[in-house]
């Protein structure tokens, strides 16, 4: 009996109005995409067919979708966590880079047994990224520097720092523009699934990311720390009045946000890429994290779902190229989905309009 109740509660939590509107927004976004595809002279059916097949037709594609979604779960969480505490973290991009860089360095330079190496690399990388995120929090608490500016600047500084480090002679693998690969003792790829997923690097990172999402949800809503951070997010003055150290909270929540994005970078290096490369432009993990966070309504559970959605659409959508459809259509689809999520009141407007009409009819 009790089980049934909790189950119902969980379902009730997921299938609420926001959820339904999100689904509607996704449908609307796909419709806009369909229009663009049609105008370009392709078959909508074939195009979306290619997208769906691209994700679901083989276990290994599902695996790749999951792999691709994993960093987005964490960068999405990073942005969502900051939002919940009243801060706008545009800096997930840079925090990701720092996490990845540190993981790549420790994974290569340290020689340790896996049991120590893996957690050490992960934890230190996350701490480094937390420190990086914390800078923005500190600048805000101490100097009142708006975190939007500071995180934008820190993104670029992270990018160039990473490039600088990678191009050092002891770090850069000759003949490439990348660092040396990390040792196997720092890798978290699951090799025994090879028979099912082929060379796709399914790794423990996905599980870790989901666990982190649960932990973050717990911290936000079930702990005193989460209470404090949310209070500061909603009303600094009242929080201060209630005895909460507002400045400390700001630094802490930016640090946690940074750590989350850094975890994304670290897991990506440890599970998928094994190295970091010189970047000539941002890779977009952090910026896409903003979209993921917003599609997921800034809730940890929502972020997990929307990361998979985002990963699926980008991975599957790229398969439309086979038909000759330009990849930009994918960006238009994603943009439309986000746009319709922003304007979910359009749907409210319509639902109201129709129920009103219906009532009028019934009245007569």
């Amino acid at each position: 009996m009790k089980f049934k109740n909790t189950k119902e509660r969980i379902i009730g939590k997921i299938v609420n109005e926001t959820f339904l509107f999100t689904i509607l927004a996704i449908v609307m976004g796909l419709i806009v995409g369909a229009i663009v595809i049609k105008i370009s002279g392709f078959s909508v059916f074939e195009a979306y067919g290619a997208m769906i097949k691209g994700v679901f037709s083989k276990p290994k594609y599902i695996a790749r979708t999951i792999i691709r979604s994993t960093p987005l779960i964490l960068t999405g969480l990073s942005v969502a966590f900051a939002f919940r505490t009243g801060l706008f973290n545009i800096g997930a991009e840079g925090q990701f880079i720092i996490g990845a860089l540190v993981a790549a360095m420790l994974g290569y330079f340290l020689h340790l047994p896996a049991i120590i190496h893996i957690p050490l690399v992960f934890i230190v990388a996350v701490l480094a990224a937390a420190l990086w995120g914390g800078i923005a929090g500190y600048l805000k608490a101490k100097f009142g520097v708006n975190e939007v500016i500071s995180t934008i600047m820190l993104n670029w500084i992270a990018l160039y720092t990473s490039n600088y480090v990678i191009t050092r002679e002891s770090v850069k693998m000759p003949g490439t523009e990348s660092s040396y690969d990390i040792h196997e003792t720092a890798q978290i790829t699951i090799t025994w699934l090879k028979s099912i997923v082929g060379p796709a690097k399914i790794n423990w990172g996905t599980l870790i990311a989901i666990i982190i999402a649960i932990i973050i949800s717990y911290i936000l809503f079930k702990t005193t720390l989460g209470y404090e951070l949310r209070a500061v997010g909603h009303n600094k003055d009242a929080a201060e009045y209630g005895g909460i150290n507002v400045k400390r909270s700001m630094i802490l929540s930016m640090a946690i946000a940074g750590g989350l994005a850094g975890a994304a970078g670290a897991l990506h290096v440890m599970g998928v890429s094994y190295h970091v490369s010189v970047l000539s432009a941002m890779e977009g993990y952090g910026f896409n994290g903003i979209a993921v966070s917003l599609i997921g309504n800034n809730s940890p559970l929502g972020v997990v779902l929307s990361a998979f959605l985002f990963g699926g659409i980008t991975f599957g959508g790229a398969r439309m190229q086979v038909l000759g459809i330009p990849t930009e259509v994918i960006n238009i689809v994603i943009g439309s989905i986000v746009f319709f999520i922003a304007t979910y009141r359009i749907f409210q407007f319509f639902t109201k309009f129709f129920t009103k009409k219906k009532l009028q009819k019934e009245g007569k």
């Binding site: 500016i149 934008i152 490039n163 930009e328 238009i332 922003a342 009141r345």
Partner: protein, 320 residues
């Protein structure tokens, strides 16, 4: 010596220009109470539309004087169209303005590159506009034989328009009826509403204007600094413009100074990397200079920045 200074000044002006347009756009939008993180997307669509339209017109009608101006205008309109989208979402439907802005940042580049492919045989880069069809350089003849002055002032008209716009924006915001209303709506929309000011109309106006300015900013890159659109052209400058607007405390002149600071630090980066200086320092470290200096300057700025009180909050009539 003079040459170096002239070069730094010239680079500063050139680099700051697209940012100034974007930042001015953000100034209008945010002073009316609508956060606009979509500047990046609006600049991209503007850059594409301006370059594509100018090329096409130059191709059809030759490099007549009006061709670049028409292209510039179209860039503004294209940006304005995305401003309209942002306004529909965030003013009419009370959307979360950040979400809507992020959507614009996907849609702008997506559409720009898509259209480029459709129009120019699959190419994501538009063909180069001939020199004669680019925006004019008003002082080009005058400075022909003055190389040092030329380095500073032989700029495209878009540069001077940017500074002119700063003055106009300042005048509109602080000296006119319209500006008073824009700021009132951004500070306290309900108060404005009770005085019979149409909050929605003012916000629509400001957000569309913001799109137009951002579009022009994009075009000032694709029609002056270079002569075509390419996907990597804007690469983050919309965000920098946004940062400059905040740095400039939501004021046109403040935003301008912030953009100039950013331009100047970039010029410094280039100067320090030049063979004349001959610093043997990694370009990766040099590239960091503008961002690091900006952060340091920000720290030194005492006093918190003050956003318009209603910035980012949708206005719903009849709600308290």
């Amino acid at each position: 010596m003079w040459k170096d200074i002239a070069l730094i000044l010239g680079t500063t002006l050139m680099y700051a220009t697209p940012l100034i347009y974007g930042a001015l756009g953000a100034v209008f939008s945010e002073n009316s109470g609508v956060v606009n993180i979509g500047i990046e997307g609006m600049m991209t669509i503007g850059a594409f539309s301006g370059a594509a339209a100018t090329f096409i017109f130059a191709d059809l009608y030759g490099p007549a004087w009006w061709v670049p101006w028409l292209g510039f205008l179209i860039a503004g309109l294209a940006g304005g169209f995305f401003g309209l989208l942002h306004a529909i979402a965030s003013v009419t439907f009370n959307a979360d303005q950040v979400i809507s802005g992020i959507a614009i940042n996907f849609l702008g580049p997506g559409l720009a590159i898509y259209l480029s492919g459709r129009i120019f045989e699959g190419s994501t880069t538009t063909p180069a506009i001939p020199l004669e069809a680019k925006l004019v350089r008003p002082f080009h003849e005058m400075l022909k034989n003055k190389p040092i002055l030329g380095m500073v002032f032989d700029q495209y008209v878009s540069v001077y328009i940017a500074f002119l716009f700063v003055c106009i924006a300042w005048y509109i915001l602080y000296k006119t009826k319209l500006g008073l209303r824009i700021r009132a709506v951004g500070e306290h929309p309900k108060a404005a509403d009770t005085l019979g000011i149409n909050v929605y109309k003012i916000r629509y106006f400001s957000v569309i204007l913001s799109g137009i300015l951002s579009g022009l900013g994009g075009a000032s890159l694709s029609m002056a600094i270079i002569a075509n659109f390419r996907p990597t052209l804007i690469s983050g400058q919309g965000y920098i413009a946004l940062a400059a607007m905040i740095f400039g405390k939501w004021k046109p002149q403040g935003a301008m100074w912030a953009c100039l600071l950013f331009g100047a630090t970039t010029a410094l980066q280039i100067y320090l990397g030049s063979p004349q200086v001959g610093w043997k320092i990694s370009t990766h470290l040099l590239s960091m200079i503008p961002y690091v200096i900006t952060l340091i300057v920000l720290m030194g700025f005492v006093g918190k920045t003050h956003a318009p009180a209603a910035d980012g909050i949708p206005y719903e009539k009849g709600k308290r």
